[in-house]
Amino acid sequence: MKLLSFIPVLVVGVLLLYAAKDFPEWGSPDAPASKSPVSSHFIANTGVDTEVPNMVTAVLADYRGFDTMFETVVVFIAGMAVLAILKNSGRKKLVKREFEVDAEPDLIVTNTVRLLVPVIQIFAFYVLAHGHVSPGGGFQGGVLMGASFILVALSWDLETALIRFPLNWTTILGGLGIFLYAGIGLLSMFLGGEFLDYSELANIFPVSREMARYHAMLGVEIGVGLTVTAIMFSLYANLSTEGRLQRGL
């Protein structure tokens, strides 16, 4: 059976290698991606339209904002699905596994984490807020923020982390993030534009149409960051304890 499945793998592999011959050179200006009018439009107009130096963020949060909004919804749904499956399932009783030991949180580890976590969180805020100018944005900032709480859970125990980030916040924060994103979109729709056409926000805020898009992108990224932070932590907390929320990893 293994040999039989190896044959299609080999055939597909050879075909892929054969097709790779037709790829354009790395970074070649003649590549179809660089030649298409879409990318040259973004390169030429991002700075003019939105005043955002980082084109990737501008495409992600503005030109392609609808896609990013539902990416955030997908993250939210994934978290809710894990919660729904694990919440009332499995062995409720704590079964001690043979490799588990009762140990106090290690002094060196906890004190190192005590120093690290604030730095990680400040860096997360920086990545989130500076996403227009430098690489970064809502997803990365949110993941970093969630990781800082996971680090607390790993070095002390899950209960300590849950005091700092109660799990019933995650549903609220996750929903709030999407609400913020869709709210900015809807607000610009009510102001006369299309859904997620941030430039209409210039009607109510004292900024130019370009800067309205610039700042609305920040708002949208904050929404994404909130959802991702909450869902990443709830994923970890539920998966490591099978939904019992005590004594995990």
Binding site: W26, G27, N54, V56, T57, V127, P135, G136, G137, F139, Q140, V143, L144, G146, A147, I150, L154, M232, L235, Y236, L239, S240, T241, E242, G248, L249
Partner: protein
């Protein structure tokens, strides 16, 4: 020349990491090797100039997904059955 050498080295390591992640019987080792794979990918993205993608790969691929995999393995048997 130096860049081509770097790319070849990273790509070779990628193949080794991918094969190792499939072959290893211990799931914990496999997920750590998988994190190595993600980090090598991250280096490759950064070298190509896609810094945003590299950042996402480093945080999500090498960071969170490894933690989530390990958290899941904690509740399963560590040995792979195939």
């Amino acid at each position: 020349m130096g860049l081509a050498l770097f790319n070849t080295f990273i790509l070779l390591l990628l193949v080794v990491a991918a094969l190792l992640a499939l072959r290893v019987k211990d799931l914990l080792t496999a997920s750590v090797v998988f994190a190595v794979y993600s980090f090598l990918m991250c280096l490759l993205w950064a070298e190509m100039g896609a810094v945003d993608v590299a950042f996402t790969e480093a945080t999500v691929g090498a960071g969170i997904s490894t933690v989530v995999l390990i958290a899941t393995i904690f509740n399963l048997k560590r040995k792979s059955s195939d």
